[in-house]
Subunit: 233 residues, 2 copies
DNA sequence: TTTGTTATTTGCGCTAGCGCAAAGAGGGAT
DNA sequence: ATCCCTCTTTGCGCTAGCGCAAATAACAAA
């Protein structure tokens, strides 16, 4: 596979970059391809590289001392991840990045990005916009976890994931497919596979979703929104 | 009250700023003093100003549609908050800022900071370090809320708050006082005042803390660390 | 000192959601 | 077609933690 500079402009952080800069990035990058389930990096590794996902999907997860996992974020094509090392000295990744399907990503040394940012205000601003987006999302999710019942949290999670990584399978209707297991959804909404399974079974009975093996199809997004806002029943 | 440029260097984001820049910031600022319980800004307000807390303590909180609150962060003297507007067009504050005690803060227009960042790489880097710090903290707290039992979460919360806003009341021992109500602690650890009260009563019996009205004194930080790591019993 | 207000404690009952265990189902490989 | 592996479902019992209500304590104001 070959990535050309124009493609890189689909990365939000690079949207205002010059052609020369994009070329420089590519010249300083290595393409890493990994299979489903494999890892780009682990929580605690020195954050020497940042990545741009070119194909596939990945997730960022954290593990607690007893090994329980939570999913922090899902990563789609042309998204940057692991850029922390460009901002902090001797940083380690605060999360693990695992491929949800077989994926390829450009790896670039963090120090290269740091260097570049010294003289490109746009790059700074765009990266800060990415960061503030994460902050706002995490704050929201934290509030949800602290205050919402599990069914609502699962609805909010599924809707968020649909927006982030969902594939539309019909153009007219808003029917979206998510390639996620019950485990993935449980880890993203702070509950257990059992509860996710029961909630999805209920939604399926009500015609809101189709629940398959490692897959959910959203048939009625509006119904889910209603659940997420507590307007149902 | 008067703030002089040298003071401002205690603000992490401004640590590398020139004297002239600091003077400029102060000239473009307004000092806002508010009483305990009052607000610097509300979730949803246009993020036109950012603030630097000069005296007092404040908290950032979010409210869900039914009015339940969660505390996202506590703010100490010489910390910047509400800087989102310098990064995003037409941003609104994603959280409410409320004074925990009577407080004063410098308010500066976000556009001024944005302007300034165009030509000061240091300012950018420092602000990004602040942002990555928040991201890491929120990710951690999210994981804790998703995976840890309530006693452990409260221990983690109390320890974190002690580091952020605790006042040492003895130099030899690590005895720290927190000016927080049960309600504050409940909102910061994702539980209820009843549970916080019961847990603190238990810790008091075990000699770990002293629990007063709107106040906790940590007598044995190490014991709390043990609880937070599940090493007790 | 008295009174009013607000924060905290504690008993008590309840239930949302956890998590085991066993059965069932989907999909790939041979 | 069959086997095997992994993912999912569902019944079931249990308990951590919620949340009401009433008592108590701390503080402030008069």
């Amino acid at each position: 596979m070959k990535v050309n500079p124009g493609d890189l402009r689909r990365v939000n952080v690079f949207r205002d970059a010059s052609d020369e800069d994009l070329k420089l990035f590519i010249e300083n990058s290595v393409l890493r391809s990994i299979e489903e389930g494999e890892f780009f990096f682990f929580q605690g590794d020195p954050a020497t590289y940042f990545y741009v996902l070119i194909t596939g999907r990945a997730k960022l997860l954290q593990t607690n001392p007893t090994g329980q996992q939570v999913n922090l974020r899902t990563i789609n094509e042309w998204q940057m991840f692991g850029a922390l090392g460009a901002v902090r000295e001797n940083a380690v990744y605060p999360a693990t990045a695992q491929a949800l399907e077989s994926s390829a990503a450009l790896a670039v040394e963090s120090s290269f990005l740091k260097e570049m940012m010294q003289t490109r205000p746009d790059l700074n601003l765009n990266l800060m916009q990415l960061m503030t987006g994460y902050i706002m999302e995490m704050q929201e999710r934290y509030r949800e976890l602290a205050t919402e019942r599990v069914e609502r949290r699962i609805a909010l999670t599924v809707l968020r994931l649909a927006a982030q990584i969902g594939k539309r399978i019909s153009n007219e209707e808003m029917i979206v497919e998510l390639p996620l297991s019950r485990q993935d959804m449980a880890e993203a909404s702070g509950t257990t596979i059992f509860t996710v399974s029961r909630v999805l079974a209920d939604w399926e009975r009500r015609g809101l979703v189709e629940a398959g093996r490692e897959r959910v199809v959203i048939r009625n997004p509006h119904g889910l929104v209603q659940i997420s806002e507590g307007l149902d029943q």
